[in-house]
Amino acid sequence: MQQLAGVELSKIKQIELLAASRPNTVSLAQGIPSFDTPKEIKKATITALNAGRVAKYSLAPGLIELRELIEGSLAEEGSQYDAQSEIIVTAGSIEAISSTMLALLEPLDEVILFSPSYVSYNQSIRLAGAKPVYVALDEASGWQFDKEAFLAALNKKTKAVLICNPNNPTGTIFDKQQLLAIAEIAYDRGIYIIMDEVYKDFLYEEDKTSLYSLTQEVRYRDLVIRIYSFSKAFSMTGWRVGYLVAAEQNARKILAVHDALVTCAPVISQYAAIKALEMPRKAWLTYLNEYKGRRNLMYDHLNRISALHFTVPSAAYFFFPRVNATRIRDYHNSEMLSLALLQVAGVAVVPGAAFGPSGEHHLRLSFGRDRTTINEGMKRLSDFFAAYAL
């Protein structure tokens, strides 16, 4: 198939596969939380399993009990969506993104991606036969949205803009002002705004306890598709469950693709998601504090490596340091450096180029891993840079 020509395994998965084939490799690559799924979620899932409630499909958009809970949680933050017709439970966020792309895009359409942003968006867009167009975020100002660059990238073929907020890999947040600026431009041109909010709960600044979302604005309702996954905040990457919300006419189109791809999200995981949504804020704060501690730990390590320049992420769980080419021998690009780190130092990291052109000369390091892994991985990284220092 011609449209599959540009689709390839993401760089993150390639690195993880290479890492898996090398014994004793420490991985700071894939964004997997180190925690097990909370026992309360597992217990509720076992109860549903033993009650014989998970053997059959759910309706294609998911269990109504879960959708109503999602509707309620959205309503609490001021986003009004109908559980029956505007919420779809998906097999993780990437299925939601791929279904959205396949449902709303035509071949040769263009989708704006901010660079750097999550690797797999590119593949999802290509899967739909469309073309990703990168718009660079401004690194000098802390990876902020550049309105002029965004406007310059738009043309008649532009069909959607995909925003990862908080952004993976930079750990930065698109604030309300920036989102409204994007939305207003998109509104004038009838461009879909696809919001991936997988890391919406990982906010580290004291004054920022919740994330502003464009779903709160009725004006952009017909254009916004919001996507969330239970994978990160609830340590449920293996359960493959997430959801999307969209205005009814868009949700209907996406549902048809979702049905064709997966029929429904795994029902057992939907029961897990029900319990996850009941997790009290206090319980989540325990996890958040631990992630904060790991961020500080990785910060301390990075501070000692002069060849890496970085900003402290205010969200998500990644550092995205820039490689100072003048401080390291034989440096060519982020991909070759990542391979060298894997082969020589036995530490897996993701090359920044995987996240778009502006990601080049950066590395993505995950602090979702446990402290032992972070300490060992960063020690190896540090030793490598010391050995190859100029």
């Binding site: 014989g52 109504i64 809970l69 509707e71």
Partner: protein
């Protein structure tokens, strides 16, 4: 949780919630149905706010344990440990007797998964108004049939006193079963002919928010005529 412990717990919480409701003289609107309960609950509550403060049951706390807890401004313990339950029971006791009364109007969700559930919920709350939303398939894994669940909703309709009101989505295939059980005034809404209240736009209602808005308007008119409690 063991069945016997659950029963004791349910009885205790039910008694406390009933006591708080009783001393508050709260008029309760119960929202039931298989699909669209949460939307209807929020829409009705929003509409009724013009009459004053309205208590709204939280999240999906709509079971024999969840409902009394939410009426006592509590939430089920997340981890379900004995210690957590001990704390909850102590707080429930204090709230029932010493917390400020509930507002005069309350909108609560009734969740029914199997036969007999409705009777348990009615032990906690006697609604003056009952709203029954959509009765349609939502879960292929359920052991309970739609007919069984319709009978549960009929039990709710029958519990509403003569001076009360039953608001029923008349587009349901099972509306007749519910309708025949009610002794209070019953108003059906929906797109089909034969319903008393229809949507303004001549279309087939598909979203829960459309139907919820109709139900909310009916209830608001009823409370308005009946007078604020």
């Amino acid at each position: 949780m063991r069945y016997s412990i659950k029963k004791v717990l349910s009885w205790f919480l039910c008694a406390l919630a009933r006591y708080r409701l009783g001393r508050s003289h709260t008029v309760v609107v119960a929202v039931a149905g298989i699909v669209g309960k949460s939307t209807a609950k929020r829409t009705v509550a929003k509409k009724l706010k013009k009459f004053g403060e309205v208590f709204v049951s939280k999240k999906n706390y709509n079971t024999e344990i969840g409902l009394p807890l939410t009426l006592l401004d509590l939430e089920p313990p997340y981890s379900q440990t004995v210690g957590e339950w001990g704390t909850i029971l102590y707080r429930a006791f204090v709230r029932a007797f010493f917390s400020p009364p509930l507002p005069r109007l309350a909108v609560v969700e009734f969740g029914v998964a199997e036969k007999g559930d409705m009777l348990q919920l009615l032990k906690i709350v006697t609604p003056i108004v009952a709203v029954i939303t959509n009765i349609s398939v939502s879960d292929f894994n359920s052991q309970t049939t739609l007919e069984d669940l319709s009978i549960e909703f009929a039990v709710l309709a029958a519990s509403v006193p003569k001076q009360g009101l039953v608001v029923l989505n008349g587009d349901n295939n099972y509306a007749k079963i519910v309708k025949s059980a009610a002794k209070a005034r019953i108003i059906t809404y929906g797109a089909k002919e034969g319903n008393e209240v229809h949507p303004v736009a001549p279309k087939v209602m598909s979203s829960a928010s459309d139907t919820a808005t109709l139900a909310a308007t009916i209830i608001s008119d009823f409370i308005s005529q009946r007078g604020t409690p």
